[in-house]
Amino acid sequence: MKEIINILNELINVKDIENKTNLIDGKILTSSNIIRLVSRLNNEFDIEISPLDLIPENFNSVASINALVERLDLE
């Protein structure tokens, strides 16, 4: 979780990001930011995020991003 928060803080400047639940719906993360986020997540956790995973439910909060990473790690 901590690494994810660090990565996000590198990309965007938002206070209290770990408690936000509308990163996508609230347009906090743009498509370009998502691309940057995904490439860092892929490198950091040695996983492969596919376009199918790029849905709001997976990226709206730090918790859901964490869940996605853990799920892909098991595959």
Partner: protein
């Protein structure tokens, strides 16, 4: 029969048929069992479609057949290669095999499906000249002749079917085994002319829900239809008089007049396009089918990127999900950027992905160099923004400028509109050299005035001004936190009925149509 076709040609044929489509389906909802409703929707839509596209309709059926077979094939690949119960290394191998097979199937499908689209569009490029030549020998030069080689909505149904196939390959849902249901999705009549682009799971969930007709959605939908037709006939029709005249006679004008022409074209395009979308959504809403919205106050965007998330939203979404993300996550690109520092790999990944999107977006709009340059223009704007925005933000932080000031927002909106306006001017100009001449003449001070009586009556001009104000009224009310839609919904059915009748009267009286008037060729309608 001949007289009916003449009458139909004075109105937009798609609109005429959609009213018939609506009426027939309302009746069907009342008398036919729910489980067969979709068949009536399909049949009525196809009948209307064949009336409009005639022999060329065959291409729609070819695409439907191709899409149906490809979907089932992808399903078969999945079923033949089971991953359940396997250990991790074997699972990975099977997944790789599925991916490889899927890739081949998709590539073949795209070659065939897009191949049809590209061939027909390029043939259209030549047939335009054929039609112009034939028009020399015709008594009335009706430009609203549906181009005989292009099936109606080919770009719509081609991209829609591609989204379905890619979603099946990605495992988002299983392929549809009922070819009638798939046909309805691909050829859904209200959407086929100008959109919005639908996704199979989203449209499927609403179109097969089979809710009953009710007065709330009836008046909701009717109000939306009337608002749409109002925009098309009262606003777009008249704004077109301005922009057509100025673009045709651009050599005689410069400065503010050229800017006026560009602004009028933006108004015309927005009113016409959003008007057609409103009609489609309104018709669907009456039938309890919810289509996604396609515009969200686009001219209030603060950046060019934001504009393209507010204008023709369903197309932007298509390119995001099926071009931007796949390109940026692709193996070749990851390989190239792997050893680079973050800032460089970010820049290259985003830029390459955006390049793919904008080249395709440009060419999707038209088959000439002008459209390619149109796409690249927005590509360059976005790259410039991506490069300079972080720098400017840091500057603002240094001089302690607050994040969200009203002045900053207004300035951003104005700047964005200027950039968009220039792009739309390029879109409307017949070719790039005319656009460049027009753009240069903006900075000249001669011929900075225009006598609008050359092309528009005072009466029409006043109606246009009133119509534009009327069109902007809901937005204006929103600033005072009044939601006109909610207010309308709270009225009694009788009051709603009266308002709708008044609106119909307004449209019939002041709408631009009828004998002696040739409706402007809908700009997005050839797609």
């Amino acid at each position: 029969m001949y007289n009916i076709t003449r009458v139909i040609s004075y109105f937009n044929p798609f609109l005429v048929f959609i009213i018939a489509f609506l009426i027939v389906n309302i009746i069907s909802y009342l008398i036919i069992p729910k489980k067969y409703r979709y068949i009536v929707l399909l049949v009525t839509g196809l009948v209307a479609y064949i009336c409009l596209s005639k022999l060329v309709s065959i291409f729609l059926f070819i695409t439907i057949g191709l899409t149906y077979i490809t979907g089932l094939l992808l399903n078969k690949v999945k079923c033949d290669n089971v991953t359940k119960g396997l250990k991790r290394p074997e699972r990975k191998l099977v997944k790789k095999k599925i991916k490889r097979l899927n890739k081949r199937i998709i590539i073949l499908y795209l070659l065939l499906n897009l191949g049809i689209l590209i061939t027909l569009k390029y043939m259209n490029f030549f047939s335009v000249y054929t039609t112009m030549f034939l028009n020399l020998f015709r008594q009335s030069k009706n430009p609203n002749v549906f181009n005989f080689l292009i099936p109606l909505g080919i770009s719509y149904y081609t991209l829609t079917s591609i989204s379905y196939v890619i979603d099946v390959a990605r495992g988002k849902f299983t392929a549809e085994k009922n070819i009638l249901k798939l046909s309805l999705f691909i050829s859904y009549y209200p959407s086929i002319y100008m959109g919005p682009f639908n996704r199979y799971d989203e449209l499927g969930s609403t179109i097969f829900k089979n809710d009953n007709l009710n007065t709330k959605t009836f008046f909701d939908g009717l109000a939306l239809i009337l608002f749409g037709i109002f925009k098309i006939l009262l606003v777009a029709g008249r704004a077109a008089m301005f922009s057509d005249y100025i673009f045709k006679n651009y050599k005689s004008y410069s400065g503010l007049v050229i800017i006026l022409g560009a602004m009028m074209f933006s108004i015309q395009l927005f009113a016409e396009f959003s008007g057609f979308i409103d009609v489609s959504r309104g018709v669907s809403r009456i039938l309890n089918i919810e289509l996604p919205s396609n515009f969200k106050k686009p001219f209030l965007s603060k950046t060019v990127s934001e504009f393209w998330t507010r204008w023709h939203m369903s197309l932007g979404r298509f390119f995001k999900d099926y071009v931007f993300y796949p390109v940026s996550l692709s193996k070749p690109l990851s390989r190239i950027t792997k050893k680079m520092p973050n800032w460089l790999s970010d820049f290259i990944t985003v830029s390459v992905s955006l390049l793919f999107v904008w080249v395709l977006m440009g060419l999707w709009h038209g088959t000439s160099i002008k459209y390619l340059i149109y796409g690249l223009y927005f590509f360059v704007c976005m790259i410039i923004y991506n490069v300079f925005n972080p720098i400017i933000n840091k500057l603002f932080i240094k001089i302690h400028l607050t994040e969200d000031s009203m002045a900053k927002n207004i300035l951003s909106i104005i700047l964005t509109n200027i950039i968009i306006g220039i792009g739309l001017m390029m879109f409307r100009a017949s070719n790039i050299s005319i656009f460049i001449n027009m753009f240069k003449s903006i900075f000249s001070l001669e011929n900075n005035y225009i006598n609008i009586r050359n092309f528009i009556d005072m009466k029409d001009f006043i109606i246009m001004i009133f119509s534009i104000i009327l069109m902007l009224l809901p937005l204006f009310f929103q600033l005072f936190k009044i939601d006109l839609k909610e207010r309308f919904n709270l009225l009694s059915s009788n009051k709603k009925y009266v308002l709708c009748v008044m609106a119909i009267f307004l449209i019939i009286t002041f709408g631009v149509y009828g004998l002696g008037y040739i409706p402007p060729d809908p700009i997005y309608g050839g797609f």
